[in-house]
């Protein structure tokens, strides 16, 4: 970056700066003329949308921080003050609250896009891994942010999640003490979570920078999954994709605003409008919706693993749950090496496509299961059973189906080039 050729600028000030620090050349190269496959569909909007949401979160977050008090006795009331008395405070808070949800929506779509079109495959493995790292950082950030208003769900959600770490053998309890800053969730916990919640978005920002850097080394994938072969396959990023991304972003923002202004609490939980009370456990503790599939995987493991018929337990149910939950994200990290099929795009892999869509349905199903009490049923079937079946499919998809497809799926014939594929699509469309 920056070591490449410099562009010519008419404006003398721009030119002067660019000779000393070629930021303008860089923007020109990376966002102006950058050759981009000409056949993106709207799925390729979501990276830019995620970027916008990240900036929006940081911007609203800074103003919220100016009015928030990280103390167990004052946090809840300070958030109410933001909602009631701070000028436009209610709007900042509604944007930040729903912004987290919409950031996750954007990133979930973005990840699914990557899986569908095989964007994780060579040479984009590191780009993909950086993405998963971003996803993990986002989860940590969102979790800590949710603790800050110090409502009932904040407190009890934090209790459930931090307690998970105690399942880790030997060091578990020390880790929990470290997270809590003491022997229970209390003011030190709130303080460290606040400090980290402020810090982590900037770490995310840095990783996003690496992510986009890596993207610009190998270039974007596209719906056909075949690399551009020449000028006829690409378009300069500006104005083609700057304009298309802006349009997509605006549509996304319309939906976002419907939530922010007309249903700001729809995605939240009413219990978080009760101040935290360590003496009253809510009947049903649920995390925010974007954690639900992973929460379901965590709870799916309800049995100890050991030698049957004896008292010997190698992995307790709790540790098993924690391992499956973190493992389910770990699988994403190694996906580029699990799926070695030479065809990238699901468009030309009907079998992979089928199993991937089932995977999506199962993932949403897991979300539903995660939202329900442990003893719930669906059409008469106990949800715990569905939970373990869905978790099995989740793991099976990565560890059995994908490797099996590597060797067995022939796939369809690939078009000769992106250009050809576009022409083919146009012909199909003309036929009706």
């Amino acid at each position: 970056m920056g070591s490449g050729e410099r562009a010519e600028f008419k404006n003398p000030v721009v030119s002067w700066i660019d000779e000393r620090l070629p930021v303008f050349s860089m923007m020109q190269q990376e966002y102006g003329v950058f050759p981009t496959p000409r056949n993106f569909n709207y799925f390729w909007n979501f990276g830019a949308i995620a970027m916008f949401m990240l900036v929006a979160m940081i911007a609203t977050g800074i103003f919220l921080a100016m009015n928030y008090t990280p103390h167990v006795d004052m946090a809840f009331d300070s958030v109410e003050r933001i909602d009631r008395d701070v000028n436009w405070g209610w709007m900042l808070r509604d944007i930040h609250m729903n912004g987290a949800s919409f950031f996750f929506i954007a990133v979930y779509v973005h990840i699914f896009r990557g899986m569908y079109y095989g964007s994780y495959k060579k040479p984009r493995e590191l780009l993909w891994i950086l993405g998963v790292v971003i996803f993990l950082l986002m989860m940590a950030t969102a979790f800590m942010g949710y603790v800050l208003p110090w409502g009932q769900m904040s407190y009890w959600g934090a209790t459930v999640i931090t307690n998970l770490f105690s399942a880790i053998p030997l060091v578990g309890d020390s880790i929990v003490t470290l997270l809590w800053g003491g022997f229970s969730i209390d003011n030190p916990t709130l303080n460290r979570f606040y400090a980290l919640h402020y810090l982590m978005p900037f770490v995310i920002f840095a990783v996003v920078f690496l992510h986009v850097w890596a993207l610009h080394i190998c270039g974007s994938n596209n719906p056909t999954g075949i690399e551009p072969k020449g000028k006829q396959d690409t378009l300069p990023f500006h104005p083609y994709y700057t304009m298309k991304d802006t349009f997509g972003l605006l549509v996304f923002l319309v939906v976002f605003c419907v939530f922010v202004f007309y249903a700001p609490d729809y995605l939240g939980h009413p219990d978080n409008y009760k101040e935290a009370n360590p003496l009253v456990t809510p009947p049903h503790i649920v995390p925010e919706w974007y954690f639900l599939p992973f929460y379901a995987i965590l709870r799916a493991i309800t049995f100890d693993v050991g030698i049957p018929g004896t008292e010997i337990v190698f992995i307790s149910a709790k540790l098993g749950g924690v391992i499956s939950m973190f493992g389910s994200i770990g699988l994403l990290l190694i996906l580029p090496w699990l799926d070695t099929h030479p065809i990238r795009s699901a468009r030309y892999r009907p079998k992979f496509r089928f199993f991937l869509i089932v995977f999506l349905v199962v993932f949403v199903m897991l979300g539903y299961i995660g939202s329900q009490p442990a003893d719930a049923t669906l059409f008469g079937a106990p949800l715990t059973l569905l939970g373990i079946l869905s978790t099995t499919y989740y793991y099976g998809f990565f560890l059995v189906i994908i490797p099996w497809l590597n060797n067995t799926e022939k796939g369809k014939d690939l078009p000769k080039s992106i250009h050809d594929a576009v022409l083919e699509d146009a012909r199909e469309a003309a036929k009706g």
Binding site: E80, D83, M243, T246, F261, Y368
Partner: protein
């Protein structure tokens, strides 16, 4: 194709979410009332807010605090500054210490928050047979379908079934989760005299106090909806413009 897939994903995600929210609590399903504040253009009914405040003041306030509210907030109900000064002046609050280091009582000012009926939670629970009357500032937001729920609760007292064992000070309510509530039916017909000719019925009292409590939890609702309308109109127009621009730019590619 991709568009259909996006729709599919959206529907897929939304449905379970909605199902997850609809289920919850074993009490009787709520009856959805039509509120003046419902819907995208709904606003608060100022007369109902004032009546509701009267109910809160004369009935609920003897047990329930509303610590997030101050007298000055009552401008939203349509009172002017002098009326609010007069209302506040009816209460006395502790202030101090003064120059001699003594705490003293003085009439409340508009900037004071609503005085709480009890000194602390322990005292409140003790006076109510061990059950703590929750602060009502956020009660509507702190319950699923809060407005319908509180309305249902206030009008949902019933004779307990024969096999139910109620302790002293416990009552049967069809909307309370678990049905048993430690609040005596707070409202009854004719209990509060309205000056504007509205019916003196439990239903009317309940509806009015719910209107008031909904405002108390969400005082900026009207501004929020108005701002939302502007924001969305702007975005929609901008989106159409960008769509046209995008079509124009891409016309030589397709």
């Amino acid at each position: 194709m991709m568009f259909r897939l996006i729709l599919f994903v959206a529907a897929l995600t939304f449905l379970p979410l909605h199902m997850a929210r609809a289920s919850g609590g074993e009490a009787e399903p709520l009856v959805h009332q039509h509120w003046h504040f419902s819907g995208a253009f709904g606003t608060y009914d100022r007369a109902a807010l004032q009546r509701g405040y009267k109910i809160y003041r004369e009935v609920c306030a003897s047990c329930h605090s509303m610590k997030q509210l101050s007298f000055r907030n009552l401008t939203d109900l349509g009172y002017n500054e002098n009326q609010i000064k007069a209302i506040a002046g009816e209460y006395s609050v502790e202030d101090g210490p003064n120059e001699e280091g003594e705490m003293f009582e003085r009439p409340a000012r508009p900037s004071d928050s609503f005085p709480a009926p009890f000194a602390n939670d322990k005292a409140a629970a003790y006076a109510n047979g061990g059950a703590l009357p929750p602060d009502l500032s956020l009660i509507i937001k702190a319950r699923h379908h809060g407005s319908d729920y509180v309305y249902g609760l206030l009008t949902g007292y019933e004779e307990a079934p024969h096999d139910a064992h109620l302790l002293d000070g416990q009552y049967w309510n069809k909307y309370m989760p678990g049905h048993v509530i430690a609040m005596a039916p707070p409202l009854s017909d004719g209990q509060v005299a309205y000056e504007d000719g509205s019916p003196d019925t439990t239903q009317q009292y309940a509806a009015d106090v719910v209107e008031f409590l909904t405002w108390a939890g969400d005082p900026h609702m009207e501004t929020r909806k108005r701002t939302g309308l502007k924001a969305i109109m702007f975005l929609v127009v901008f989106a159409f413009v960008m769509y046209a621009v995008k079509r124009q730019i891409w016309s030589d590619v397709h």
